[in-house]
């Protein structure tokens, strides 16, 4: 099941050319661009790990693409996303985020029903991928 989080996730995967034009847009707005990765695709997982530091003061997207390719070399079997942080007054938050790399196989989520008092049911979603330990969830070593 294809994970759809952030911008553009209902579109076909972006090419590097398209990624670099999106990043260029962020840079032209003065946003700091970050690269993050994770192997826990749950939509409520807000703690993705950062690849390096946020990139301030860049002029050109080539620098971000260089880091992204380095990140893909190491974590090519995980989800990688690019996010852009706007530090200007009144925003001070993330303005754009999109997935730029995903595992080959995405096993998807199961719905768990938890029967509680009476006939009530509580639902929760669980990713099949997280049944395996961190680091080997998507066919890693």
């Amino acid at each position: 099941m294809r994970v759809t989080q952030g911008c553009f996730s209902f579109l076909p995967d972006l090419t590097d050319e398209q990624i670099s034009r999106q990043v260029q847009y962020c840079l032209s707005k003065g946003w700091a661009v970050n690269i993050e990765f994770t192997d826990d695709p749950h939509p409520r997982n807000s703690f993705w790990e950062m690849w390096g530091l946020p990139m301030f003061d860049l002029c050109d997207a080539a620098g971000v693409l260089m880091e992204l390719n380095d990140c893909r070399k190491v974590y090519g079997d995980r989800y990688i996303r690019i996010s852009a942080f706007d530090s200007s007054h009144g925003w001070e938050s993330q303005r754009l985020s999109f997935i730029v790399n995903r595992p080959k196989e995405e096993p998807g989520f199961r719905l768990e029903r938890n029967e509680v008092e009476g006939r009530s049911i509580r639902y929760t979603t669980k990713s099949y991928a997280v049944d395996r330990p961190e680091g080997v969830r998507y066919g890693g070593k």
Binding site: F8, E17, Q18, R21, Q22, M55, D60, G63, E67
Partner: protein, 307 residues
Amino acid sequence: MNPPALSPAATEAPPIEKVDLRAEFNEVGIGEVLDQLDRELIGLKPVKTGIREIASLLLIERIRKRMNLTSDVPTLHMSFTGNPGTGKTTVALRIASILHKLGFVRRGQVVSVTRDELVGQYIGHTAPKTKEILKKAMGGVLFIDEAYYLHRPDNERDYGQEAIEILLQVMESQREDLVVILAGYGDRMDKFFASNPGFRSRIAHHIDFPDYADDELLAIAELMLREMNYKFSADARQAFIRYISLRKTLPLFSNARSIRNALDRMRLRQANRLVADLDRVLTAEDIVSLEASDVLASRVFSKSAVT
């Protein structure tokens, strides 16, 4: 928010057959930059010739690209060698704007660094530091001043070597994203290149900055004064000509930089002279002119008198 750029790059124009070279030259606006270079930089004949050659090559390369006569992106990394104060940094800034006008760098910013900004303090510090600078310079020009400090032959565990390796790798693999200019004093750069053959072979353009002649230094001084809204009186000008010839024989002479420092000291003496006489009414003329006494008070003259 602007619409996101999802559409593929604009469809390419069909290859053209004929090019009006003059129109192309004017369109790029490079003539203007070169003229400005001629106007504002005094002397430096070989440098100007070198830049003109590079600019012509790039102009032709640009036309070739439009005619679909593709070839590899020309290597644009450069090294500037010359004595202190011969204008290496100034020229680097100009080069960046030429490259930008011709479309060989996308943004045209110049990131000027020295060893400190590239090399880290401890293990594992250098690579992120160097990469950070490289990322900032992407799309523009990375100017490494006194590049030979990167290599410390007496200490083989020095982290400079790590920075050099990262630089070389990016210079090779991302030639279209970044132009690297190494600058430094001639003899030490030669030594640096000798011990790092990788650098020498990746740099296509070696430009040597000659020292300035006496009359060029005078012209530079007058240009600087004009920018600062000062001028020499006739006597002061004569005195300054003598000053230049004396200063050149002294140690630690660094061309235009020495001239700038000398002018700053003269401004100081002029101000001091004017303030000494508080009862006087000053005219604009008094305030802008440097007198012979301001020049002659320099210790350069007193030294030559003693010896």
